[in-house]
Symmetry: C3
Subunit: 193 residues, 3 copies
């Protein structure tokens, strides 16, 4: 066993400790799921994670309750079973983000159901972080979706089962199941009948 | 108080210590501003940050003086009051980057006023990191601009007040005030009269 | 000497120690090359790095042997002399990724020769991380290529000498030498005769 392998074992141990730490913040983390170090979590009481999922290193998960937007039913962010969320990804919800089972994301993916304010001149004269948060709609990502590296999934989007989102794609509209979507702005390039 | 909350308090304390450390490098950091851990800073004597701003974790800020390009007046990079620079962002200047007040950026944003060399065959036969740095012009970002996650702001660009830059957009031309710009390459999709 | 400079010396020392650690995992690291901390490396026996190259902080390098795809000749990933791989970048190979000399990448670049499965309905009904890995072809990046921040280089691509890949560009086709390619999807915007 070389030194690097030993180093990886230490990191794996740290990952286990970090998962225990995350369990004190996140409402529910299923059996066999891991939350790797470097994460930033806020509003963990509105977040659930299923079984066998991995939240990779340096992921940001934030759920905020906003009066009049957040539905009364919990959770805001739910991640299903056997998912993999890539390192440096960012999931931020105020309404509802439902990620199904077996969803895999590359690194540095953004999934958000909210934005800073509407597009009217009064608001644009304020600084963005004091504009009221708004949500164009919930984000639903069905089972077995594969989201490429650095893709962004924006508010109000429903991504159907088995879809593939290309690297760097920016998704602002619904994606049909079993289709491939690429580009910024994104367009459908393949679709199974 | 759960263990994660305690963990966050420790991180906040580390952030305060990191801000003190950054103050020994950066020319001026205004009252109430914070520079969170994991940053890489070079040429801090050419960088100023106003009051109440937050430079999030793992940001890279580099200012280099280049003879014949950098103006004699300091600073090269100035960040105004009440700004938020997202985690994993990268701001690199050799000419001038002026970020106004209340500017908010998502994660992994690039703001640069320079590039590695010009486009002629002699230079392209050198490796990029020994080509002479050039600047197509300074970058000016006016007040209350909101820059989406993973956007890139390239040299010579002026972004007007209250503009919104979409996630993943790559900006190579001026952006009018109170407009919304998306895509790679970017185009204006909304503009307030 | 200010405190931040001292801090940077400590980080440089850590970088040297990390390079020694990486040398126990990576098949060959040439003289003067550095592998900075925060990296994740897998399959180091299939990776070689030339002389004078820098693998920046938080880079992920993974090489996996896949029966029937990986050629018998080693290495899977080779990085030449005097290269710079930007922080947060991700290089992942199962077939062959050959990066020449003097190649410079920005931060958060993806270089991959593989993807999760083919596009048929049977596979799309599986979760992506159990679909068989496939490779559309090897990735060859010739000398002195400059890859902009957050660009993605996808399987089967050959990038010719001295080419410039714009920030955020997503490359799915060959790029001629001494050309400039931008956008998502990418297109050639300049080409030296």
């Amino acid at each position: 066993m070389n030194a690097y392998t030993l180093f990886k074992y230490c990191k794996r141990l740290l990952g286990m400790l970090n998962t225990l730490l995350a369990k004190t913040e996140i409402r529910h983390i299923g059996k066999g799921s891991r939350v790797l170090p470097g994460n930033y979590i806020a509003g963990g009481q509105w977040i659930t994670i299923g079984r066998g999922s991995v939240i990779n290193t340096n992921v940001t998960l934030t759920a905020h309750q906003v009066f009049g937007i957040t539905p009364l039913k919990c959770p805001i962010i739910s991640i299903g079973d056997n998912c993999g969320i890539g390192a440096f990804s960012h999931i931020t919800g105020i309404n509802r983000i439902r990620i199904g089972n077996g969803v895999l994301t590359g690194m540095a993916v953004l999934i958000t159901d909210n934005s800073h304010g509407d597009f009217d001149r009064e608001q644009l004269k304020l600084r963005p972080n004091i504009r009221p948060l708004v949500s164009k709609g919930e984000v639903i990502i069905d089972d077995n979706v594969w989201i490429g590296e650095k893709a962004s999934i924006l508010p109000g989007v429903h991504i159907g089962e088995g879809a593939i989102i290309g690297a760097g794609a920016v998704i602002t509209k619904d994606v049909p199941p079993f289709s491939v979507v690429v580009g910024n702005p994104a367009r459908i390039v393949k679709q199974m009948k």
